[in-house]
């Protein structure tokens, strides 16, 4: 397995003294889908700025495909890692869509024909063929998001880093964007690293999850992470609704350890479980049901207690 990103003992403080990252260690393999979660101000964005060298890091503890990022020239770096930030308005600064998508390739020193090819490919990947001459500022929010993605895809990075890709999108655009990212991962083999707060969308975008809270506090499959109550509690996280619901079903004797995380998975798991038990599952209230449920609810509602911070 090829290691796409390897970070060892990375610490970073802003010039005003805020310690944003402390001894961060992680490894992401080629072709993986990794999601990074953590509370507001945990350092996710700061971490991403290290991945393509926007924040200089002379100690050489961030490597991309085996090479330290501080040794790479900028043209090389952007060939490897492309970062899409949250607010598309921060990333679109050219007077039309074509120029925005062509910006990276031109900085890479490609010739005109290749630049045009790349713009064309990138725009068609995000489903915006024919938008070349439009002014980005006048597009809808969802369209802007996609132009921002295209402007990074045109550099054909092997690793795609996305900071809160679904925030502020309406449900349809959100679902579209998620399947677009999944396509890029599956079809083009792009490694994707995503920071997000939307736990209900997380399972579709993650093979593996890192929990970041200045340091990496946990790592595992989405299922492992969401099963760890203490972890969720101390890091301002929640489990997806579907997952919580199957926990409840378990209290009613559904009794399966195969807890799904997303709606699609739930349908699959449910069908399989019921089929596996000769087409029947029995939900009933047994002597521990009420106790178990009230424990469960009490835990999940730990958020509801008023907190000052």
């Amino acid at each position: 397995m090829v290691e796409a990103i390897k970070v060892e003992g990375l610490s970073y403080s802003y010039s005003d003294g805020t310690a944003a990252l402390e001894d961060v260690n992680l490894t992401i393999n080629e072709g993986e889908k990794v999601v990074i979660v953590g509370p507001n101000g945990a350092g996710k964005t700061t971490f991403f700025l290290h991945l393509n060298g926007t924040i200089k890091n002379p100690t050489g503890n961030v490597s991309v495909f085996g090479r330290s990022i501080s040794d790479m020239r900028i043209e090389e770096k952007i060939r490897q890692v492309g970062v899409v930030f949250q607010d598309p308005d921060d990333q679109l600064f050219m007077p039309n869509v074509f120029d925005d998508v062509a910006f990276g390739p031109i900085n890479m020193g490609l010739d005109e024909k290749e630049v045009k090819r790349r713009v064309h490919v990138a725009l068609s990947k995000v489903g915006l063929e024919g938008f070349e001459e439009r002014v980005p500022h006048n597009l809808s929010y969802g369209q802007k998001k996609r132009v921002a993605l295209a402007s990074v895809l045109s550099m054909e990075p092997k690793v795609l880093v996305l900071d809160e890709p679904t925030a502020n999108l309406d449900p349809r655009s959100r679902a579209d964007f998620i399947s677009l990212i999944n396509d890029l991962n599956k079809r083009d083999g792009i490694t994707t690293i995503i920071a997000m707060h939307d736990v209900n969308a997380l399972p579709e975008l993650a093979d593996r999850v890192y929990v970041l809270n200045r340091r990496i506090v946990a790592e595992g499959s989405p299922r492992e992470i969401f099963s760890d109550w203490e972890l969720l509690k101390t890091n301002n996280l929640e489990a997806p609704d579907v997952f919580k619901l199957f926990k409840v079903l378990n209290c009613f004797g559904y009794s399966s350890d195969d807890l799904p995380l997303s709606f699609d998975e739930a349908v699959e798991v449910l069908t399989k479980t019921i089929e596996g038990r000769e087409g029947h599952v029995h939900l009933h209230i047994h002597e521990h049901t009420h106790k178990e449920i009230s424990d469960l609810m009490q835990f999940y509602n730990h958020h509801r207690q008023k907190k000052t911070d």
Partner: protein
């Protein structure tokens, strides 16, 4: 490119304050008559903030670096309100960064603000004459710096003959900045023209 405390003579400083305060009073008063100040105050303030931040950028030329002044652009975008905006910007610059002094806020306001007003007038006049706005923008950007350089030299010389050579040096130092700001202002105007033309004083009729 702001003057620090302690350089200029008493009479130059006083003249600077007098001109600056008078011009500000006239401009704010005329604005009060034409517009709703409750709307203008936050608008001008936030735009001033944007220019303040932009002027923190350093462009390196060879071994040294210059920070941007953008007074020509400020004039083009804010019109006559560029003058009070400049007063606020300079006050904050001297308070927060000690760029320029406290006694020299008035004279710096004149030195940066008057060229901004002239750049604005030039832009409107040139546009009415049908000159290409991008070119005009570049011209206004350079003009702002050029005039500021000249004014600075004049102020130094009127403080004392000792400053004659310094004044030449100052003017020479403005030349590369002139080119840099010309190019930048030109491209900002080109950009705004395509994306948000209503931010430019393109209407042929009334003053903003």
């Amino acid at each position: 490119m702001h003057i620090s405390d302690g350089v200029l003579s008493f009479s130059v400083i006083v003249a600077g304050w007098a001109i600056a305060l008078a011009l500000n009073a006239v401009i704010l008063w005329s604005c009060k008559c034409k517009h709703n100040m409750a709307e203008e105050i936050p608008k001008i303030s936030i735009m001033t903030g944007a220019f303040f931040v932009a002027s923190l950028v350093h462009v390196s030329i060879g071994p040294t670096s210059v920070h941007l002044l953008l007074n020509g652009l400020l004039g083009v975008v804010l019109g006559i309100m560029a003058f009070p905006a400049m007063l606020v910007g300079l006050t904050l610059q001297s308070f927060l960064f000690q760029h320029g002094g406290i006694t020299t806020i008035g004279i710096n306001n004149v030195m940066m603000g008057v060229p901004a007003l002239l750049a604005y007038a030039t832009f409107r006049f040139g546009y009415r004459k049908g000159i290409n706005p991008s070119l005009l923008g570049a011209l206004c950007g350079s003009l702002g710096i050029f005039l500021s350089g000249i004014l600075l030299a004049l102020m130094l010389i009127s403080t004392g003959e000792e400053f004659r050579e310094i004044a030449y040096v100052v003017i020479m130092a403005h030349v590369p900045v002139m080119f840099i700001e010309g190019v930048i202002t030109g491209s900002v105007v080109t950009f705004l023209l395509k994306v948000r033309p209503e931010l430019l004083p393109l209407d042929k009729g009334d003053m903003r």
